[in-house]
Symmetry: C2
Subunit: 457 residues, 2 copies
């Protein structure tokens, strides 16, 4: 319930107190927030004051705050830190967070970070960095609790107490055999509700769900959501446990994925920063190429209109006035289908192998929509549009027929194009509404013109 | 890593085994999956076999499987259950899940469920049902672990062991005072890493984040994500703890919200079922009203075109051929802005009070985009479009100028309309692209025509 205004006001008070060297008051203010809110508040502190404020943070929170900070602010701090301070922050981080930070930092800072890491941490960092980007391996952490089948519950607690402080989660413990193969899972809940002398082998869950190191990170996140897991084990090809992905990281992956899909569907290059924190020039760059591309592709539409213009106008003015309605409806019908399919693909509910099912479904929906829309369109033309321009029944019929075909076509293209994109390993979201609209526009105009010429020409 | 094909094949095997009365084999097959996969598999079992299969499930999984099942299947089962079976399933459910089920069932079944619930459960159910839909209160559960400040760690463990089996989570425990006011939080992790004689008051976190019972459920879900919580405490106006919302429920809320926003932005009424499981008629109904509404609103565009048609055509054929390009670009520019803002609102990053910041930002982006796009458009008209139809520089200038104004206008409308919608408590996502496109189309056509008449008429 800490709201932004409160954070901004506190940041202002802190800057004020700093200038009066009232460090005790700054410390008191800082102690009233948790790490996530502190990171958000630090965003409001000017760069030249940042390291002073950071050094006044409660020691046990410093690393947590650091993880949640903005990349640029992390860089500002790291460049001002001495080796001891880098080491302190590093010791408070989990390996997956360290890797996230390393991936964003310039080489000089990465070198300093790696120099301060102990051998074990360095090995873990390198292992995670070696997995393909966007794979389960690249977002996992190696800090999990592993148990043996022959342990008793009390041994497990002893191990959790001893190694727990350095583990990202202790709530799901993983049971491995001698070759580190994953054989079972036992939750801290089960441990707590068992008696000290129960054997792990007897209380562990053996229907183990795990993902491969090379699985797509979005798939992993969705599986964590689907199963309601707090963490998902990541195994190599020999089913040896190599790491875990936790639910908070899964939520971040899903949020990022949703943001990307929303951006792509509205023809914008995704940005990794909130809108209000993105620079005007960056927003401009994210939007320009798509607008340009779509404008140039609209040249085809212009070309088609030009070539049919004289013929159509010779027949009726209404034919021309209906072009935007036809194009809009085609675009809307297409994006209704495409967004539904794209979303289904993103959620793993719709697969390329379902293509025939999808086409059959969309065909029936399109026929129903086409019939109703055409009838309404016919009525609208004869009743409303006739008020300001006489419309003959033949013209109304032509427009309605073209509308029917446009809707069926738009549904077909809108539903199959994303699946096709998926098959040829393009991002389905990128072919979404804007492109499908341009495509549908062009084809439906040709059909429209030809129907008009055939029926009325 | 259990894939759908495996689940479908297992379901087929089970149906086969059932017809041969090979119940032992069915039991064996069922024992190899966890509750989430079992629920998904039951979806493939015909309704008349459903209750037999359900009765063969491992006892300890039955309630969990039931929660994850489809509403219609739950209803099928409940209508076949005797009172004892209803009671058994009910005892295995958490209160929030029971409420979810009750909300979907017909009155006769609800009555039977409530009859089987003990007084305490019934009170909890009624309490949760009394909160407004979509509020934190409506999705919370009342089954959390509460501790007292004066407890020692060993007392806490004793209480967890005693009451834990009925709690939705035991990983975050809530410390309350005599009046049930929330004063601190202590995680199972902290408990496990403390010594048995530590006092709860000394180890608990006192910077407590909580939400109000009437807070929006999407806000609660986003806060759980932002803080990386496993559960969020829900308090009443007097800061008394009344329930918690867990991370898995938060993930479901966010997924539902994202699905709804994707649907609305593509002018489809959201569906709560996956696409392939939704009936053709239901899809038809979800799409029809929006297509109709948008088609009728396109009448205005037609009206505008009709009234300027003669004048424009008297000047140049190119002017007319450029209408679709102008409309498409306006629509795209508008939805780039609107989707960005709508997404920002959904994530709580952009607020109505930011409206001036947003307008100022969009104005600068629009000017930059407008300049570049107009120059490219001018060049395209003179170089490419001239190939098939002569274009005078004055005509190209007219189109480019109109394009510039259209982009600025589209960005303005696209960014302010969602914020306006939010202020007047409409859903920002509903005013998105399709409506903004129709709106921008109409205005830009009027501007275009008037510029043409002024410069060339």
């Amino acid at each position: 319930m800490t709201d932004k205004t409160e954070l901004i006001e506190t940041a202002e008070k802190i800057v004020e107190d700093l200038s009066q060297k009232n460090y005790a008051e700054v410390k008191r203010l800082l102690s009233e927030f948790n790490s996530v809110d502190l990171a958000e508040m630090l965003y409001e502190i000017p760069d030249d004051r940042l390291s002073i404020v950071f050094r006044l943070l409660p020691k046990e929170l410093a690393a947590d705050v650091f993880v949640d900070m903005d990349t640029e602010q992390q860089e500002t701090l790291l460049s001002k830190f001495n080796d001891k301070e880098i080491k302190d922050v590093l010791n408070g981080l989990f390996v997956d967070d360290t890797v996230d930070i390393i991936e964003e930092m310039p080489a000089a800072i990465v070198k300093r970070i790696l120099k301060q890491a102990d051998k074990e941490t360095r090995d873990s960092i390198n292992a995670i960095l070696s997995y393909p980007p966007d794979s389960a391996g690249s977002i996992m952490t190696t800090e999990y609790v592993s148990l043996k089948e022959e342990y008793l519950v009390k041994d497990a607690f002893e191990k959790i107490r001893r190694t727990g402080p350095d583990k990202e989660t202790i709530y799901t413990c993983y049971v491995t055999d001698k070759s580190r193969r994953l054989v079972g899972i036992v939750s801290a809940r089960t441990l707590l509700l068992s008696t000290p002398d129960d054997k792990i082998a007897d209380i562990m869950e053996t229907n183990v769900i795990s993902v491969d190191t090379h699985a797509d990170k979005e798939y992993v996140a969705r599986e964590i959501q689907r199963y309601g897991f707090l963490s998902m084990p990541v195994v190599d090809k020999e089913n040896r446990l190599v790491g875990i992905v936790t639910v908070d990281d899964a939520m971040d992956v899903l949020r990022e994925e949703n943001n990307e899909d929303f951006s792509k569907m509205s023809a914008v290059t995704p940005s990794d920063k909130p809108y209000l924190k993105t620079s005007v020039f960056k927003i401009f760059l994210n939007r320009l190429p798509w607008l340009l591309l779509l404008m140039v592709s609209a040249t085809f539409t212009s070309l088609i209109i030009s070539s049919y213009e004289d013929a159509l106008l010779g027949i009726s003015v209404t034919l021309f006035a209906c072009v935007p309605m036809l194009m809009d409806t085609g675009g809307n019908a297409g994006s209704q289908a495409s967004v539904t399919i794209i979303r289904g693909i993103a959620l793993g509910e719709t697969m390329p192998k379902d293509v025939l099912k999808v086409i059959w479904k969309e065909l029936r929906v399109a026929l129903m929509l086409g019939v109703v829309m055409s009838i309404v369109c016919f009525g609208k033309l004869m009743v409303i549009d006739s008020l300001y321009n006489p419309v003959t029944p033949m013209v109304a019929l032509t427009v309605s027929l073209a509308l029917f075909i446009t809707i069926v076509l738009a549904k077909f293209i809108g539903s199959t194009l994303p699946l096709l994109a998926k098959v040829i390993r393009l991002d389905p979201a990128v072919v979404a509404s804007p492109f499908i609209t341009t495509f549908v526009d062009a084809i439906s105009l040709i059909i429209y013109s030809n129907i008009a010429l055939a029926l009325l020409g």
